[in-house]
Amino acid sequence: MLLGTTAIRRLGRLAPVLCVLALVLSGCTPDHYPQTALRPLSDFGRIGDDIQTTTLKWAVVVFVLVEGALLFAIFRFRGKPGDPEPKQVHGNTTVEIIWTVIPALILAAIAVPTVRGIFETNATPGPDALEVQIIGHQWWWEFRYPSLNVTTANELHVPVGRTVSLKMRTADVIHSFWNPRIGGKRDVFPNRETRLWFKAEQPGEYPGQCAEFCGIQHGRMAFRVEAQMPEEFQAWSTHMQSLKAPAAAAAPAPADSVHTASAGATVPSQNPSPGPGDPLYATGEKLFMTKGCVGCHSLVAYQAPQGMVGPNLANVGARTYIAAGTLKNNDENLAHWIMNPQGIKQGVLMPNLGVKPEEAKALVAFLRAHQ
């Protein structure tokens, strides 16, 4: 009787909540989210994901039982104003011991895999791992491969099936390296090296971004992990090694390595880019030197200089995004960016240099050739 019509009417009042919940749950499958943490694609990511799944299961069980008991009590023990005083219970030692011990046991069930997971994730990768140095910058990411002598920015190429050992620091403030498909976050510090490792399981492009507030453009500090089959990665690294300083090789890259890069990377060449012989290219090259771009950006991937303020542009023409995930990398956006970085990404360290539209066009031609 107590659970009769009033109860139904009360549940009816919850209808809007249930509707919204249904709506929310419909948007719930991780496949809608390219940056999801719920579909890990590395051994490292799976360790955390397994524990999270275990914990979530327990949480759901506890949630259903306790909220259920609460709802039951709410409906069952409804009193009327004239009712006699209910039995004055002050406590019950047995019950209290039981509901102290049961949560403790559940926590123990979570604690055991947790401690195992802590030690697994903190393990040191073996000597055959590919080392990558990651340097956080306001607001972009620098990736250096010491064993390959290669440097790049914002797109981290890694081979599938080989452990990658990340050694991280920052050039300025604290950032946090987070690629959810690959694994959890790790903060980067100016005065200590932090580490993370993972072995990518599938080729693909995985978006990630900075996860520690790092100033005005924290929201625009994205990067991508490009997991490639070993031979593709090999081709990419060989190509990157060919992007040398002018003293060692004719700058920029010879035409054939552009093709190698296009084949190796998953990025298709958008336009047939003008080569070094093109007059537009030559103008762009000159502008790159005279407008001051060269002061912050290196065009050399092999044995690149350290401590540059801006991202390495040796292969900028082939990247998917520019300005750390802010804009799709097409000619229009690139020109727009060169002319007005402060309008697009307020506070970015790249100043507006008064580049005119026709100058921007030449610079785009020049940069686009850097594949």
């Binding site: 929310v24 719920l38 994901d49 949480a59 104003p81 219970v89 946090s176 005065n191 929201g219 307020q346």
Partner: protein, 613 residues
């Protein structure tokens, strides 16, 4: 109830103590009830400001690549939203109830140090105004409420943004510490005869524990902020790596303060709910002793879990294990509390009035926040969750679903006692349903977004990551939430125009505040009560067949009360000037500080030699 007797008493009181109205009486008041009202109304205004800041944030995030707010403004707004809600909203709203209710619950005529109490309020007000003055000069804090070094160094944060934040928190810290000393001493020393520790009402108990947390946690942030001030103004390198300092040191300091701070924010709400549930279930709190000791245990453990905010910093497996297990341990006393609340309702004869709605809503929402908390106690999983919207969801379920639901329950519960008006029950329930729905629509989807890769503190997100739909829903939810508070305001407005006729004991209360008129006379208790048991008032009423004893006819003459004083206000202005002067260092600032210091000293001197009445 003997309304006429009460009216008579009021008339006598007015004659005996002089009619105390007008601005001057509020500026010089040392009455804990008036100070409680000042705290409550000031904090509620700040709370609404923090809410408006949140709505602006939600509009910006309502669609991808939005340009409604500039990144600069967004960062200022989220920093001020967090800082405001914690230091100017929830903490002083709790303080409003500490002020008004603790002396009444323990049968005292005032707090131990009435003028120090006024001083706390004025310093709190000064701190809140100082922080928000940053908007006027266009230098609102913009590095988050956590202010992580080395982003807060001069190099990366030139301008006054961080200075306003750092100095504002320093001012507010003084207010909190002074108040904590006051309430600690009040509860230890001022209890009515027979009010043993284990007979204290649970709200007073949880408030007592909160004062201990305040006393132990605030000195840590004070020191951390002084070091930051030295770094920014005097060229030291405590957090600056180029000079051998360590930005990680700030994180340890901050969270050694910051985690107990979480319990400072939630324990008063625990106390309120532990008062409301028994009264409206018409049976005593289940497992009183377990409730006390679980509160003590939570507070103790709260000092040993701080680095669970720092799992992503790579502390190594030993530290990770320690902080992970200590964090999980906290779930046990927290669970005990939830089960005891359930046990209180279980078998009761539940009266569904507005305060009970909010108290039950508190339990339902707090369970969710507690469970997601256990989820990120596990470092390998937390590496994905930390600094994502999953954490934003978690702490809003604790801070809003917990603290705010609890505080609103307290507001409806004690409103008659504080104002003499009973808030409208129908409007109250409308407020509840709008708040419950708005809250869940706003914050539940954040769990999903966080686990699917949306990081915190981003001023926008690109289209194509799948974040659009749920963010839009959240923005709608935030406006439902805002609407619920509009209903609350309307309720206050409407009922305050009605007659001031709240009965002394509208809910059949168990604690001493319900034994005296609503609102109480200035001296609270005509005769100091003698306490023989827990739920003292229930005991008295049972002996008298369910009726409150007739209030004794007392004119108030001869009852010793402290004199009003404006020296707390003068001293507080001195504190404000001393600290605010640092802003303008090294130009005019030192002079402002010196003059402020002199005002402070003069105020303290006059205060010390003022006749206490």
């Amino acid at each position: 109830m003997a309304t006429s007797a009460i009216d008579q008493q009021r008339a006598h009181a007015a004659a005996a103590h002089g009619d105390k109205t007008g601005l001057w009486s509020w500026l010089t008041t040392v009455d804990h009830k008036r100070i409680g009202i000042l705290y409550g109304s000031t904090a509620f205004i700040f709370f609404l400001m923090g809410g408006i800041e949140a709505l602006l944030l939600r509009i910006q995030l309502g669609s991808p690549d939005n340009t409604f707010l500039s990144p600069e403004t967004y960062n200022q707004l989220f920093t001020m939203h967090g800082t405001t809600m914690i230091f100017l909203g929830i903490m002083p709203l709790s303080a409003a109830f500490f002020n008004f209710m603790i002396p009444l619950q323990i049968g005292a005529r005032d707090v131990a140090f009435p003028r120090l109490n006024a001083f706390s309020y004025w310093v709190f007000l000064a701190g809140g105004l100082f922080l928000n003055a940053s908007w006027i000069v266009g230098a609102a804090p913009d590095t988050g409420w956590f202010g992580y070094a080395n982003l807060t160094s001069r190099q990366f944060s030139p301008g006054m943004h961080v200075d306003f934040w750092m100095l504002g928190l320093q001012i507010l810290g003084i207010a909190s510490l002074a108040a904590a000393v006051n309430f600690f001493v009040t509860i230890v020393n001022m209890r009515a005869p027979g009010m043993r520790l284990m007979r204290m009402p649970m709200f007073t108990w949880m408030s007592f524990i909160t004062q201990v947390l305040l006393l132990l946690a605030f000195p840590v942030i004070t020191v951390a902020l002084v070091l930051l001030m030295f770094d920014r103004f005097f060229g030291t390198h405590f957090y600056v790596p180029s000079g051998g300092g360590d930005p990680l040191l700030w994180q340890h300091f901050f969270w050694i303060f910051g985690h107990p701070e979480v319990y400072i924010l939630i324990l008063p709400a625990f106390g309120i709910v532990s008062e409301v549930l028994p009264v409206f279930s018409r049976k005593p709190l289940f497992g009183y002793a377990a409730m006390v000791f679980s509160g003590v245990f939570i507070a103790f453990l709260g000092f040993g879990v701080w680095a669970h905010h720092m799992f992503a910093t790579g502390m190594g497996p030993i530290a990770d294990t320690f902080f992970s297990l200590s964090t999980m341990l906290i779930a046990i006393p927290t669970g005990v509390k939830i089960f005891n609340w359930l046990g209180t309702v279980w078998g009761g004869s539940v009266q569904y009035k507005t305060p009970m709605y909010f108290a039950l809503g508190f339990i339902a929402m707090f369970i969710i926040g507690g469970l997601s908390g256990v989820m990120h106690a596990s470092p390998p999983a937390d590496l994905q969750q930390t600094d994502s919207y999953f954490v934003v969801a978690h702490f809003h379920y604790v801070m809003f679903g917990g603290s705010i639901f609890g505080l609103v329950a307290g507001a409806y519960y004690w409103w008659p006692k504080m104002s003499g008006h009973v808030l409208d029950d129908t409007l109250g329930k409308l407020h509840f349903w709008l708040m419950l729905i708005g809250f869940n629509v706003t914050f539940f989807p954040m769990h999903i977004l966080g686990l699917n890769g949306m990081p915190r503190r981003v001023y926008t997100y690109p289209a194509g990551l799948g974040f659009e739909t749920l963010n839009r829903i959240e923005t709608v939810g935030s406006f439902i939430l805002a609407l619920s508070f509009a209903v609350f305001l309307y309720n206050i407005f409407k009922t305050s125009r009605g007659p001031r006729n709240a009965p002394a004991d509208p809910w059949n209360g168990a604690t001493l505040e319900w034994s005296i008129p609503s609102p109480p006379q200035e001296w609270n208790f005509a005769e100091v009560p003698v306490v023989h048991s827990r739920d003292a008032l229930w005991e008295v009423k049972r002996e008298r067949g369910g009726k409150l004893p007739e209030p004794p006819h007392v004119s108030g003459a001869g009852i010793h009360l402290p004199n009003p004083s404006y020296w707390p206000l003068v001293t507080a202005i001195g504190v404000l000037m001393t600290i605010a002067g640092v802003l303008a260092f090294p130009h005019i600032g030192p002079w402002v500080s010196i003059v402020g210091g002199l005002v402070l000293l003069f105020g303290v001197f006059k205060w010390a030699f003022e006749p206490a009445g």
